[in-house]
């Protein structure tokens, strides 16, 4: 007779889901459109203008390391699992275990932001930030680039023991071919053009390279990863609040909904990164 007992849900107006979950999904729908706009803009900038002579920067051109991005992807996947397990255990009445899983999620989120900070620091050190990348050698930026490379070569001549005998070598700026002027030029090639014999002797020189579309790349990179990192930070704030509730011993069944909605948000952040990782680091 057990099958005869049926708990009919009370009828009410609106969608057949809790209001909080509905609100969260509506919020996520707006977020989907927001990140779609960012990725779409990136896609059109990346594929619209660059040519074979002037390609879009490859990850190594802009000091992006693929395995670091893959590591961060794995970190976010692990954090998604931990938050879903936190909800799973809380639903079974184990608040302490849930708090432990939330702590793990918080730690993994911090690791993600730490790695992101490391990457941002690398970008700042190499001046791969919007408006600072030398993406052409003609016009005013070309003159600025020439002066920068001259300064770098002069510094090398003055401080590199291997080049001690070549101090005060007059530097000359070569006549650029206008067709190849904006093409990808490696640091060694730049050095060879600016001060041939000196720079070809030691290929470990690091001179500022020309990176076609480097400023556009930097704008896209910081916009997409920056907004994503802000979302990660927002999630960490909520997890901290939940941990404070747990520390006061008040985490219980009544917080299932809060944890589920926070988890929904966190998984969405994970999904966004699942697309940002290949677009920025791989393809």
């Amino acid at each position: 007779m057990a099958h005869a007992i049926v708990h009919d849900e009370p009828l009410h107006m609106g969608a057949p889901v809790p209001h909080g979950k509905l609100a969260m999904w509506i919020f996520l729908a707006t977020e989907i459109m927001f990140f779609t706009a960012l990725i779409g803009t990136y896609s059109i900038l990346r594929n619209g203008q660059p040519t074979k002579d002037e390609p879009w920067p490859k990850p190594h051109d802009v000091h992006l390391i693929e395995w670091v991005g893959a590591f961060n992807t794995f970190v976010l996947i692990c954090s998604s699992v931990s938050v879903v397990l936190a909800h799973w255990t809380l639903c079974r009445g184990n608040a302490k275990q849930a708090a432990l899983y939330i702590s793990v999620t918080l730690a993994l989120g911090c690791v993600f932001l730490g790695v992101k900070a490391y990457e941002y620091n690398s970008k700042f050190q190499h001046e791969i930030i919007p408006g600072h990348v030398f993406d052409r050698v003609d016009g005013p930026r070309g003159v600025a680039y020439m002066n920068k490379v001259k300064g770098e070569v002069k510094h090398l001549l003055e401080h590199d023991a291997l080049l001690g005998s070549r101090k005060n070598v007059p530097l000359c700026w070569p006549s650029w071919n206008s067709r190849t002027a904006r093409a990808q030029i490696t640091p060694v090639e730049v050095g060879a053009l600016v001060e041939g014999p000196c720079c070809t002797r030691n290929r470990s020189f690091h001179l500022t390279p020309i990176i076609p579309y480097g400023n556009l790349w930097a704008s896209c990179y910081f916009a997409m990863t920056g907004f994503h990192a802000l979302h990660v930070f927002g999630g960490l704030v909520i997890f901290t609040i939940i941990l404070v509730i747990a520390a006061r011993g008040k985490l219980s069944h009544q917080h299932e909904s809060l944890l589920e909605l926070t988890g929904l948000y966190w998984h969405f952040v994970d999904v966004v990164w699942i697309f940002l990782f290949p677009f920025l680091y791989l393809v």
Binding site: N47, A70, T73, W88, C91, E260, H267, F277, P278
Partner: protein, 121 residues
């Protein structure tokens, strides 16, 4: 009674612990796969177009796994499809309407393109 409660519980709280672990393993493997495909493209084992399609497909599968299992759409899809589906249609359309601009640029084989831009400056 107990069976009914268990059923209600799964209905309310989503997949099992084992399912979460299987999805976690799949996501980890797919991350490695996209990394390996990228390496194959770099070493000219795969063409860049094939590599792009494979990596994009892997990313879509990973996103679907997270949405279906971790975001509990396996349970909630029937209740939420009416606005999630239009969102994805609009998102996809947004990407598609940008394609003509990209494709027209690819077909613009005007040899004077570079000179015109430099002269314009």
């Amino acid at each position: 009674m107990s069976e009914m409660h268990t059923g209600d519980y799964v209905e309310a709280h989503g997949p099992s612990f084992k399912a979460y672990m299987v999805v976690f393993g799949a996501l980890s493997i797919f991350t490695v796969v996209s990394f390996v495909v990228n390496d194959a493209v770099r070493h000219d084992v795969l063409s860049s177009q094939t590599g792009f399609l494979l990596i994009l497909a892997v990313a879509i599968v990973k996103a679907l796994l997270v949405a279906i299992y971790f975001m509990h759409l396996i349970v909630d899809w029937g209740k939420l499809y009416y606005f999630i589906f239009p969102t994805f249609i609009l998102g996809t359309m947004f990407m598609i309407v940008l394609l003509p601009d990209i494709v027209l640029t690819w077909h613009d084989t005007n040899p004077n393109k570079v000179e015109t831009r430099d002269d314009g400056k």
